[in-house]
């Protein structure tokens, strides 16, 4: 079982790494967002066609090329402050606002699920920082960590359950179709994944593991095992689909999951 300081420290390090990876990637992707790039704000600003003129002017100003890059530099500074000093209202609040700034620039999401989970974690940390004005810090942290944990469990459970309801996943055809369409695809003609029995076994392994993820709440030991499997799962997702940010975004949630599982088993069973 993780103690609260251990959980905070693990969260601090993993979130720092995840945000740093994202920010350096955004730095490298600045050029496609310049005036002649695909993601030019000159086009994208019409997403705000419904907004008031002053708001459109404000967004055009803050999404200028220089401010964009300046923000990324400041963001690296904030991430380093998290890594070296831990969380406080200033660095967490600014990172949260900065993430919104990044996501609006990418029309709401750049990398889908990893953006969602990053926002979930930062929202949980904002809750922690704000709640400390009214309640004991330990209570505030418990609330924030549970917020992250519930979303992490929901993400696995829902992802598994929707597969369970779809015959393409149950009979193994879906996994082959997705691998063929993936960024490293298509699968080789003689790939072992094309064997129906292998595809069915892999599909059911994912479905059952994802659907059973709420079992982490049985105790910290269970949570450690399920999170270790999750680590392998996310590595495979990276390896086959190129989704590196998912690996880190979900890793960040594991300390919260293990901590909350330990807390729950203490309350419920009196032990881990």
């Amino acid at each position: 079982m993780l103690t609260l300081p251990q959980t905070q420290y693990a969260l601090q390090i993993l979130l720092g790494i995840s945000l740093l990876i994202q920010t350096l990637e955004f730095w490298r992707l600045s050029e496609p967002q310049f005036a002649t790039g695909v993601w030019s704000w000159q086009i994208q600003k019409y997403d705000l066609g419904h907004a008031s003129p002053w708001l459109r002017h404000y967004f055009t100003m803050i999404y200028g090329d220089r401010l964009w890059r300046l923000h990324l530099v400041l963001r690296v500074g904030l991430i380093l402050s998290v890594l070296l000093l831990g969380f406080n209202l200033l660095n967490v609040g600014l990172l949260f606002m900065g993430t919104l700034y990044l996501l609006i620039r990418w029309r709401g999401a750049f990398n889908g699920g990893s953006d969602f989970m990053t926002i979930v974690v930062l929202t949980g940390l904002v809750v922690v920082q704000l709640a400390q004005f009214w309640v004991d810090p330990a209570v505030a942290w418990t609330a924030g960590l549970w917020y992250i944990t519930i979303h992490a469990i929901s993400s696995y459970f829902l992802s598994g359950a929707v597969k369970l309801f779809y015959d393409g996943w149950r009979d193994g055809r879906a996994i082959i179709a997705f691998l063929d369409g993936a960024i490293y695809g298509p699968l080789a003609a003689d790939s072992v994944m094309r064997k129906p029995v292998v595809a069915v076994m892999c599909s059911w392994a994912f479905i059952l593991w994802e659907c059973s993820f709420p079992m982490v709440l049985l105790g910290a030991d269970w949570a450690v095992v399920w999170c270790a499997i999750a680590l392998l799962f996310h590595f495979l997702v990276f390896w086959f689909f190129g989704l590196n940010r998912f690996f880190w975004a979900w890793c960040v949630t594991f300390p919260a999951v293990i901590y909350c599982a330990g807390q729950l088993s203490l309350v419920y069973f009196g032990a881990t």
Binding site: L24, R107, G108, V120, T123, I183, Y184, P214
Partner: protein, 168 residues
């Protein structure tokens, strides 16, 4: 049964309920931009029609064949730590999927050309043409949006949108 177990049970029943009962889809321009606050955890849940972009360009008054533009990459361990190009390629594919979604929702298909999604895809097509023909002088280019059927391949009759030729 303790309060905690009751809460967890209600929570799991609620999650299952969200899968069984379909609610009205809420949409709006601000909701679209802030959709990260309403996470959708249904990853790779169904093999549906796959929107694909085909591009062709005109050099010396001759149009080349339509070429499928899809994200493709070489697998490397280092990408776990720094993977901007592949993530950008995946974002481009998401953009194509948004265009297909916009096309389904729009009342008058002619208005699609005024949408941000369409104009961004047009830029994407220009970039794709430029990458495939870096040395020659492209005069015009255009794109097609085709819907590949589930478990199938997009053919010419799967075209759902074709841009007019655009001067390079």
């Amino acid at each position: 049964m303790s309060d905690t177990l009751v809460i967890i049970s209600i929570y799991l029943i609620f999650l299952l309920g969200t899968l069984v009962f379909k609610s009205r889809i809420i949409s709006g321009p601000w909701l679209f931009l802030f959709r990260s606050f309403l996470p959708n955890w249904r990853f790779y849940h169904r093999v549906g029609p796959l929107p694909q972009i085909y591009v062709r360009y005109c050099v010396s008054q001759i149009w080349n064949e339509w070429q499928l533009i899809q994200p493709r990459a070489v697998r490397r361990y280092v990408d776990l730590f720094h993977n901007p190009e592949n993530n950008l390629a995946l974002a481009m594919q998401n953009l194509v999927e948004h265009l297909a979604a916009d096309l389904r929702q729009i009342d008058n298909p002619e208005h699609i050309r005024t949408l941000v999604t369409y104009r961004l895809v047009l830029r994407f097509a220009r970039l794709a043409a430029q990458k495939r023909c870096p040395d020659s002088t492209i005069q015009q280019y255009q794109f097609q949006l085709r819907m590949a059927p589930p478990f199938g391949v997009a053919t010419l009759d799967a075209v759902v949108l074709e841009s007019a030729p655009v001067n390079y």
